[in-house]
Symmetry: C2
Subunit: 234 residues, 2 copies
């Protein structure tokens, strides 16, 4: 038993154990989960901790308990798919090719619009932040790991400049999923260098408030990323 939970996180153990099993398909929608007593034995926790864990999963839309009828896995459309835990359980072990496509498509759908909004409504400080992030991209182009981090920061700065907390939240949770995939990606200085011009164009367009150019440049970035992702993930 890996000491994933240092002790003193009994209910979290239930949340993670059951949650991951559900999201990864070990328990299908409609399935009954074992009774409380059985789960108590299985997880080696008391009934209180177990029930707290189950309630958390119910709060994420994964489970539904009804007295005397047991606890069942809710249909997939009830799941809080953008809950950080749910996303992690889905993408963390090793995302399927389909999952990679979903993420790549989502970025394509989202980021150009975010860049456009940023160009329209960013305040001075946010435009500066993008410029700073851009400079860091140039500076780290020969260091694959640092570049990944800088790239993430750049895109986050763009979303932040859109002045929309929901949009920024979406970006952040997607980043979590992306970082789970990242290891799959080619990480070569040459590859990174090729993406710089489009980033530069996007940064400049946002800085100058050219929403059309910003959107187009960002689209190019994410389209290329999608193409690469799909090529590398059969």
């Amino acid at each position: 038993m890996p000491a994933a939970y240092p002790e003193g996180a009994r209910h979290a153990q239930v949340v993670h154990g059951l949650g991951a099993r559900i999201v990864r398909g070990g328990l299908a929608p409609g399935d009954h989960v074992p009774t409380e007593d059985e789960l108590v034995s299985e997880f080696g926790v008391g009934r209180s901790a177990l029930r707290e864990g189950v309630k958390v999963l119910a709060g994420k839309g994964l489970l539904e308990s009804r007295t005397s009828a047991g606890t069942r896995v809710r249909p997939r459309q009830s799941w809080n798919l953008l809950d950080p835990d749910v996303l992690t359980w889905r993408f963390a072990p090793s995302p399927s090719a389909e999952d990679v496509r979903v993420l790549a498509d989502l970025r394509v759908a989202l980021e150009p619009g975010a860049a456009r909004l940023a160009a329209e409504s960013a305040i001075a400080r946010q435009r500066s932040a993008i410029a700073v992030a851009m400079a860091r991209l140039w500076a780290t182009v020969d260091d694959p790991d640092a570049f990944i981090e800088a790239d993430l920061a750049f895109h986050r700065a763009v979303f932040a400049a859109a002045n929309n907390d929901l949009l920024l939240y979406i970006h952040d949770v997607i980043s979590v999923a992306l970082s789970a995939i990242r290891p799959l990606h080619t990480r070569s200085a040459g590859h990174n260098r090729q993406t710089l011009p489009a980033h530069e164009r996007a940064a400049l367009a946002i800085r100058r408030g050219h929403h059309l150019k910003a959107e187009a440049a960002m689209r190019e970035i994410v389209e290329v990323a999608r193409h690469d992702a799909l090529r590398e993930s059969p």
Copy 2:
């Protein structure tokens, strides 16, 4: 006391009561919530139900409990902003003008990209569904309430056609928030009728796989919607 909880949902009462108070600003990030004993008195439930409720809110990123240190409201950037409950607490009573802007901007950022994806990757059945939804728009143009419903269904069909469950999830949770705002909107047959041509163009473009036209038509729709929303919510 509205019978929101038919009885037999003690812990849900805690979730809603505390959650709404936090999201609406009654408890600021960093604040300590009262101790378990105090909350037990306040909500009139037992410690089990109370703790289950608190754990659910912790699962949504709103609270953080540490033994002996009490339970505190987590910083806003930890909140699961796209959790349906959190969204409801935020938008349900009466959204602020700022909230309306956030939603309108989010649609502008999101829907054109979704329409583009739909045009690229929808399968036959999904294209048909969009056509059906479009027909229903025409049919309900003189019935404001039915039109709202048809409009929602149309946009949902577009998102569904993008074949991206995360994107569809985003649409669905935003719809929840939108329906909270809807009463604010003008609901006139004339106004509705004006939006039909753009909808028709979007539907047709998606049907024919013209992603550029689909994106442009959808952008027009949401830009107009944004303009209207901002005008009506000073």
